[in-house]
Amino acid sequence: MARDLEARLRTGVQATPFCPGCGHGILMNLILRALDASGIPMEEMLFVSGIGCAAWIPSPHFKGDTLHTLHGRAIPFATGAKLFNPALRTLVISGDGDLASIGGNHLIHAARRNTDLTVICANNRIYGMTGGQAAPTSPRGTRTATTNRGNPHRPFDLCKLVLAAGAAYVARYAVTQPLALMEGIRRALEREGFSFLEVLSPCPTQFGRRNRFESPAEMLQSLMERCVTREEAGRMGDEELAERIVTGEFT
């Protein structure tokens, strides 16, 4: 199976640019597996990304049409392409800073219009590419390059936000839940209308080292411990839930 996926990679592209321990490589792998499982040929795909580490997941690695755009603007670029040529199966892949901060307005409006796009937000809860500044998804208390005493603000719950704006499909998984995540990507791709998938992806370089994770493995371990399914969450009290991340489908 792994070698089958090579046909979906652009010829001539070798190593990914991601740091050791970055979760974006796992996500990249799972997107290709989901496309393969759904039997969607790369010729039918248009991959659109903004600016940031996550935006490099499709560009240049994926052997299909790719549009690497401006910081925050992947969704409107994708909207124009999709509206003009509805045959393009359009998948947006970008970071949390890109989609939820500078591009936040585009995100909620595309959900409201229910534009037929699939959006995958690789959420590392920090600005990875620019050196680890606070993002609108950084949990309260997080140490970042701009909050060295801990982030004073609450993070967005991206799934609730996009759900409230009217998306047709909303789900959240972590890269530590590969099978569920791959299934989620497949379902998001197959759903008509605006589909949104939040994917928790560790950033050891910018998030981990500032927040006392000794190694990438420890970050993955912590993500595994904190992620619970909606069913598990239903059995937990508020205190226990406070430190958890609820995963699964919300639509």
Partner: protein, 380 residues
């Protein structure tokens, strides 16, 4: 590049339209099938006309959440194969600037109509100005070129919009139609010919979309969905679109090419019009609505025997350097009236060896012919 002739969408003959309606009709005649925008005075009638006419013309109309989304979606649609445009005015044009630079670097053909109002800031939203020409030229960061038109009549709002689409595709460059409120809201007769000539972007399967150029420096442009596995990026890229963000040679080559493909084609882009310049000692250089006042003043003063003429700029960018240089040799003085504080006069000063007198007016009103006549009399 290929050229086709298509039947005009409006019935051939004389129509009575506003300038903004004429822009929409020109766009549809030119094959524009994707429009995205956000309402702003004094340009909104373009968007409303596009929305109304979508049924007959086909294509997509999208009212977006802001001007940034509008232009970004236009770029997306162009790579999906559309001829596409947006329209706005000063504040919205400011918001679009980052994407204008993206379009220039990715060589994305598109048209923006900027129906100028009196700025800066929110300024006078319903009043006329012509203060966005330097922004049109330098609004985005870095070195790039655009083509810009300055129509003076409703007829030209129609004709130059068609030409804007053709030049955008021919040179793979953003083209700006720099209208002014006064011409956007003016109603005049427009003569619509039965046929429209369309220039289409060149397609060549397998060619490098950012490098396989002919001598004109313009590469062929495929669209998404054609099996080309396109790699489009606003970062510095090589001929096939691979990011090369720390290679000095690739960067220099790309930036030089996107500039030179326009500058080397100046003779095919720049449009000027001479009125009564044969014996002129003083020339007025004007563009847009101001050129109407200037022509009126020139004709009246010639009746009094004054040797004055007008050179009208139909394009502002790339600048008509050579034409102005020659004009500067033929006359003693040049007067440049404009509805800003000397934006184009500065370019005239750079190009002409004779004395150049700027005459700016920024009060939200058109420049009255009497004021131009007064300046001419003072100088002659």
């Amino acid at each position: 590049m290929s050229i086709t002739k298509v039947r005009s969408l409006l019935p051939a003959g004389t129509h009575y339209l506003s300038g903004n309606e004429a822009v929409a009709e020109g766009a549809l005649a030119a094959g524009c099938r994707y429009y995205a925008g956000y309402p702003i005075t004094p340009s909104s009638e373009i968007m409303e006309r596009m929305a109304d006419r979508r049924g007959e013309a086909g294509g997509v109309f999208a009212q977006m959440e802001d001007e940034i989304a509008s232009i970004c979606s236009v770029i997306g649609s162009v790579w999906a194969g559309a001829r596409a445009m947006t329209a706005t005015s000063g504040p919205g044009f400011s918001l679009m600037q980052e994407a204008v630079g993206y379009a220039a670097l990715t060589e994305t053909p598109l048209v923006i109509a900027d129906i100028q109002r009196a700025g800066p800031g929110t300024g006078q939203a319903t009043r006329v100005g012509s203060g966005d020409h330097m922004q049109a030229r330098w609004g985005s960061h870095g070195d790039y070129q655009v083509i810009s038109y300055s129509p003076w009549s409703v007829q030209e709002m129609y004709d130059l919009t068609i030409e804007a689409f053709n030049q955008a595709d021919r040179f793979r460059v953003p083209v700006l139609l720099m209208g002014e409120e006064a011409v956007g809201h003016l109603r005049e007769q427009v003569n619509v010919p039965p046929e429209v000539t369309l220039v289409h972007r060149e397609k060549r399967a397998g060619a490098a979309p950012f490098g396989d150029t002919g001598p004109d420096g313009v590469p062929p442009m495929p669209s998404f969905g054609e099996g080309e596995n396109l790699l489009v990026t606003g970062s510095t890229h090589d001929a096939r679109g691979f990011r090369r963000t720390d290679d000095p040679e690739v960067h220099e080559r790309l930036v030089s090419r996107i500039n030179e493909k326009i500058l080397n084609a100046r003779s095919r882009i720049v449009r000027t019009e001479a009125h009564h310049l044969e014996d002129a000692r003083l020339a007025v250089v004007a563009y847009g609505f101001t050129a109407r006042s200037a022509l009126y003043a020139v004709r009246r003063l010639r009746k009094d025997g004054l040797r004055v003429g007008l050179m009208r700029l139909q394009t502002v960018w790339p600048f008509a350097e050579q034409e102005i240089r020659e004009l500067g040799r033929a006359v003693d003085r040049i007067l440049v009236p404009e509805m800003n504080r000397g934006q184009v006069a500065g370019e005239v000063i750079k190009a002409a060896d004779c004395e150049v007198v700027p005459f700016g007016q920024t009060n939200g009103e058109i420049i009255h012919p009497d004021r131009i006549a007064e300046q001419i009399r003072r100088l002659l």
